[in-house]
């Protein structure tokens, strides 16, 4: 109904406009020549076509022709035409009017179609975006579910295992302590007693390390990691990490390569050393005894240092290369990475990633020549990024912060 009435209105409007032009120009027929009138009427046709479409344009053309003949071509107020030239003019007017009407109506339709197309594309885009948002929401949920089960797994394993060792040790010692009246159920020699105590000591440390790792990760995730940036040499940072890792590396060969002209960098030496320690520790766990672990540091451009730790182990499947940096992710939870079970907390690489990213760098895994290559980069930095007083030192690679040793 409304469409039909709108159409009728459009036809009426077109007729009205022709009438308007006729009424305005009619009384002054003698002052204007017929060409002006024809052009004015053509303008109306053009408007009708543009605004209301082809139907009203045709109507306007016909009405315009009639009006032109009746009111403006001599003899006036008759349907006859005196001058044969004016027949030609009238015919030319009609043809022009119809053509103009048709063309502009088509242009209008085209514009409308283009607009409809644009709207459709926009709608599809919105729909796609919503679908994408829903999907990523679902993915986030899945991720958080996975994290929750990983957390549960971590709690089961990382807390229960040390607790089991501690409880078994303590109950053994308690049982021995309550031996009396020659009613001996258990007998431990001094070495066995000492071993039990050592296990308790080591496993309490392990629990503590786990708690500290959780805390550090929570700090990183809350964006509260405070880097203590000072100028430091990679040589020293790597040496410190390897020194700490030495007890883990007795079965492995270590190859260190540091570029001669590596500049000092403005970094948190202790934190970066921790990153390298984690990578080396990881490499030692997942590569066979007797193989080589290579640690190298080089300058990729004037602003970036790249450190890599490569081992000769089986490596990390492509699809897990990002996930190993997720917290609580453990290689052996998938069972396919190594013959040896990871004894770590599943926090080390997540913390390493947090530290590297806090330095404005990034960390990833590549396939090296013989095994996986863990790489990270970070900017050399400058004195502007400062959290405390600078202690610039010589660029001779001997930089150190005595208070942080």
């Amino acid at each position: 109904m409304t469409i039909l009435s709108k159409k009728i209105t459009n036809f009426n409007l077109a007729a009205l406009c022709i009438a308007g032009v006729t009424i305005v120009l009619g009384p002054i027929t003698h002052q204007v020549n017929s060409t002006t009138v024809a052009l004015a009427l053509l303008v109306v046709v053009l408007f009708s076509a543009t605004l209301w479409g082809s139907g009203p344009a045709v109507l306007a053309s016909v009405l315009g022709m009639l009006s032109f003949n009746f009111f403006f071509l001599p003899p006036l107020h008759t349907w006859t035409i005196e001058d044969p030239h004016n027949w030609v003019a009238l015919a030319a007017f009609l043809v022009t009017a119809l053509t103009v009407g048709h063309l502009s109506a088509r242009a209008r339709r085209r514009a409308e179609e283009a607009e409809a197309g644009r709207l459709e594309i926009e709608r599809l885009y919105q729909e796609l975006r919503r679908a994408f948002e829903r999907a990523s929401h679902a993915e986030a949920l899945k991720q958080s579910e996975r994290l929750k089960s990983a957390l549960l797994d971590a709690v089961t394993h990382d807390i229960r295992t040390p607790l089991t060792a501690i409880k078994a040790s303590v109950t053994t010692l308690l049982e021995e302590a309550s031996n009396h009246n020659g009613d001996k159920k258990i007998s431990l020699d001094a070495a066995a007693r000492r071993e039990m105590l050592e296990v308790i000591n080591e496993e309490s440390d392990r629990l503590n390390r786990f708690a500290e790792g959780l805390l550090e990760l929570a700090r990183i995730e809350a964006g509260e990691l405070q880097l203590q940036r000072r100028w430091g040499a990679m040589e020293e940072i790597i040496a410190r990490a390897l020194e700490r890792a030495a007890p883990l590396l007795s079965g492995h060969r270590i190859a260190v390569h540091i570029d001669k002209d590596l500049p000092v960098a403005r970094v948190d030496a202790k934190a970066l050393s921790e990153v390298i320690y984690t990578l080396v520790d990881n490499a030692s766990k997942f590569s066979p005894t007797g193989s080589t672990i290579s640690v190298s540091a080089l300058k990729t451009d004037n602003e970036t240092i790249q450190v890599s730790v490569e081992d000769e182990g089986p490596g990390v499947p492509e699809d897990l290369r990002r996930r190993v940096f997720d917290k609580f992710f453990r290689a052996t939870t998938n069972g396919d990475l190594s013959a040896r079970r990871a004894t770590g907390t599943g926090l080390g690489l997540a913390i390493a990633k947090g530290i590297v990213e806090a330095h404005g760098g990034r960390i990833w895994i590549e396939s090296g020549s013989k095994g996986p290559r863990f790489m990270f980069t970070f900017p050399i930095g400058n004195d502007d990024i400062t959290t405390e007083l600078n202690q610039p030192e010589g660029h001779d690679g001997t930089t150190a912060n005595p208070d942080r040793r």
Partner: protein, 232 residues
């Protein structure tokens, strides 16, 4: 007397270390392995009297280890598990484990289970026996006459209840999963019908337990199955 041999299998070195020392202190000869494959090697070379194994291990896991050992020998196997892994426990028991212990545990608890398992293993009645009269704890069963006596008074059982009780007695002390019991008494097609079992165990308890609401013979292992204690 030669000391009894126990093989401990766990991929956590701290745990094998503690258990080795603790069990040695109790007079056992102990060796350890860090995964299922090397455990099987040690098993073949050393012939232990009992195996204590963790469930989650690289290479051959605890369940496969139980299965492999069962194909070679009837020695008792005790699995170390953690709470919340009921399904894995059931799997391990179905694969041939005799008992389980939940981490963390006291060494006394482990030693008690080790003793019980070794004692059962040394008893001839533990094997499928054709003896005419089964005599254990408070129970006496005349298999020829299918007559059951508990604490010196005779009880009347339906055939299925009788079969169930005999199966319990023959496997006294072991943790028997729902599946195992259903398979043994009703046959392989009924292994998922745990409600059958619940009903029959309930009826059997009414007939043999002094207080069926606090059973002392047929003990429930939550989510897993039952364990039979014949009394002393």
């Amino acid at each position: 007397m030669e000391r009894l041999r126990i093989l401990i299998v766990d991929d956590e070195p701290q745990i094998t270390r503690v258990l080795r020392t603790g069990l040695k202190g109790h007079g056992y000869d102990v060796r350890s392995a860090s995964d299922g494959t090397s455990a099987l090697e040690t098993f073949g070379d050393w012939h232990p009297d009992l195996v204590v194994t963790d469930l989650a291990m690289p290479n051959l896991d605890g369940i496969d280890l139980c299965r492999s050992i069962r194909s070679l020998s009837q020695i008792p196997i005790i699995v170390l598990s953690v709470r919340g892994e009921e399904r894995t426990k059931v799997e391990a028991l179905d694969a041939g484990a005799d008992d389980y212990i939940t981490k963390p545990f006291g060494i006394d608890e482990l030693v008690a289970r080790v003793r019980a398992a070794l004692r059962r293993a040394s008893m001839p009645s533990n094997q499928e026996t054709t003896e005419a009269v089964l005599l254990t704890g408070h129970f006496q069963i005349d298999r020829g006459a299918r007559k059951v006596t508990v604490r010196d008074s005779e009880v009347h059982l339906t055939p299925k209840e009788y079969d169930l009780l005999v199966h319990f007695i023959l496997h006294a002390g072991r943790v028997l999963t729902h599946r195992t019991l259903l398979g043994a008494v009703w046959g392989g097609n009924y292994t998922e019908q745990t409600e059958y079992l619940r009903v029959f165990v309930g009826n059997l308890r009414k007939k043999i337990e002094p207080d069926p609401s606090k059973p002392r013979y047929i003990l429930t292992e939550p989510w897993i199955g039952y364990r039979f204690d014949p009394g002393k």
